[in-house]
Subunit: 445 residues, 2 copies
Amino acid sequence: MFEKLPIALRTDYLRPDVTDEMISARREQIELADHLLRSRKCRGAAFTGWLHPDGILNQEELVRIVETADRLRQESDVLLLIGIGGSYLGARAVIEALADEPERVAYAGTNISAAYHARLRAKLEGKRVAINVVSKSGTTIEPAIALRLMKDLASYNAERLIVVTADAKKGALRKLADEEGYESFVVPSDIGGRYSVLSAVGLLPIAYAGIDINKLREGAARCAELCRSTDPLSNPAYYYAVARNLLLEQGLVIELLAVFEPHLHYLAEWWKQLFGESHGKERTGVFPSSALYTTDLHSLGQYVQEGRRDLFETFIEIRDGGPALVVPHQEDDADQLNFIADKPNETERTLNYVNRVAYEATALAHRHGGVPNMTVVVEKLDAYALGALLYFFEIACAVGGIMLGVNPFDQPGVEAYKRNMSEILGRPGYTQRPLESGKARYVTF
Amino acid sequence: MFEKLPIALRTDYLRPDVTDEMISARREQIELADHLLRSRKCRGAAFTGWLHPDGILNQEELVRIVETADRLRQESDVLLLIGIGGSYLGARAVIEALADEPERVAYAGTNISAAYHARLRAKLEGKRVAINVVSKSGTTIEPAIALRLMKDLASYNAERLIVVTADAKKGALRKLADEEGYESFVVPSDIGGRYSVLSAVGLLPIAYAGIDINKLREGAARCAELCRSTDPLSNPAYYYAVARNLLLEQGLVIELLAVFEPHLHYLAEWWKQLFGESHGKERTGVFPSSALYTTDLHSLGQYVQEGRRDLFETFIEIRDGGPALVVPHQEDDADQLNFIADKPNETERTLNYVNRVAYEATALAHRHGGVPNMTVVVEKLDAYALGALLYFFEIACAVGGIMLGVNPFDQPGVEAYKRNMSEILGRPGYTQRPLESGKARYVTF
């Protein structure tokens, strides 16, 4: 199953809602979308630089990323990554999933919470802190505030410990890097934030966390190669893209991405940005939501099993889920687990096996409950497989978005709250708007 | 506005979808639901012990909780809370929101991930660990596995460091506590897990984290008193309950609970369990989802602004958001933040103020985008206000569920995956079912 790539798509629990025949019937639509994407004739074609993962960076840039990451790793205890949205989510997804010590990377610029910044300072106290600030412009309000607040942590050796990832030529952050002589990397001009994890945006912090970025890139490149097939029956990424569009057409407006490993939480967050921001426009798109199982089976699980039938589910199953921990035998067996602990087959005593059973049990239960579901099966979660998985979702999202009729590479709706903020804050050039509009109405006790 | 309770409900951005008149027109329905609940004639009435927060525990039990928490705090560095769903979410919600050192409480029993348990052990290495295991039965598979795997951490002094919260009389965990002489507390028989935060289930770990549980209880009790009004215009909890039902009737099937403080993440998780499990049955209920703003404005935000109009939003706004951190002035102003840093009014230079502006800007933008929204406004997040807030959601959920026609206190759908697991694992008494059903179908590269 995993001959060509450690990723496959399980589809039997999509039936009867979605069948191979229904998918294959969309072959022409797939071919058109694929053609528009690859010939750069689709909407937003100027932002398809992610399409060839091994073309994003040249050898020299790659070497500099690895060398800088190694140097920072030696000279600091913690890397503070300052960025929001696509400027940090890809890196965080990979780091939490793969790093031996994910706590060596801390995050700021993702909120405007005073409590968060106070807790973060307390956590970083006494540590040697390096900073990687990532922002195309340098004027996005959250990371700009975070940089003002936190940069003193690295200021005793700023020219070595502050590293900038910014637009190649213009913007406040590029100017800052030039003036202060900070080491700097480039936010590619032909890749939007949510597709940028395999550029310097993602790779520098990922390398800092000790993850093999070459393997990550190789996995993505191999997936890209295999995704050249427009036959959805031999291209699971396109199968996935069509299946979710078909389910949306049938009125299933929510997709729940469910993982069985807590350290995939940020992969789910990255996925939510990718699909939410790419398809959620012009009043269309599946609403992306996520769950961590099994814990959320004791929470959202009730809804998924028996609530409104507006949703479908996509599982990520990791076949080999890490350390070979077994359920230990216990003399008294008060908790009734010895039937697992005493299995003759040692594999069946492991947490990995029980967790796989939990996945299968859940997929089956939800299918019986009327929730069509599919599963992205990953043989083993390493840098190579994760690189492939990231690309799998990226191209599925792009092709799926083109088939949906939207521009999967813009995000016009993100400006609305920013514009309102500028007005209320009285940013120069904006017409002031009051904080309390006078229309506010409260129901009180 | 906050004379009686530090909580109010902002409603103007619900208009025109939901108006005061529409809410008031449901007065009789509210009165009926309220009556059924309080006279214990509703479905699931046997599980309404949470209704009077000050009746959940007597003085003696309360004192013992505080004393035990204090003792454990002195004798350990970390409390490992082992429990799943309602057995940990309420505690975690309060601890993350309020504790000075939330990292003093660690969590297990929420998943079957080998990687998670390996990382957890590494994190706890060299620390003095106390354990509070919370499970009504003691045979729920996730916490039972976690206890087998982790209890050696406290076994050098188990009789002092292991504390059990279990059914008063029956079950494996109660038996274990009796046999081993562990200090123990009671999971009330008349309160379901998701409503149990103000019982020993939640209060012991919350007290361990250094939070004033009496204030938490007082806030809840005060809210309970004020919620006796069945006039939704003077009872924001009932207003909220009716508003979300009305929006559901209008086809808005998703509620997005959005917070602007990252440390409220687990409050949102608790809320998702509360509403998802209480209403998500008999093919009805709003699908509960959550977002952390502003970070998710650079992710889901695009969808909320311009995607399908199937959703409404509930914000939690904390008026006084903690430490008075200001945006610092910076000579060069490359990032263009000095227009904030140089405000004549010092309040307007604080992160709290900018975060409030972000909330207002977002609520307005989403209303303009066609997303009706309301806001639970909290004057200041302390134990008293949070206690009130927990009760606010509990009673809104109960009354809203009764109005919806469901039993808001059961969770029949949670059994389906458990039964399948027992079958696949071959638990004694179940008919064995294979892991790979033979029907599994994979699309591969």
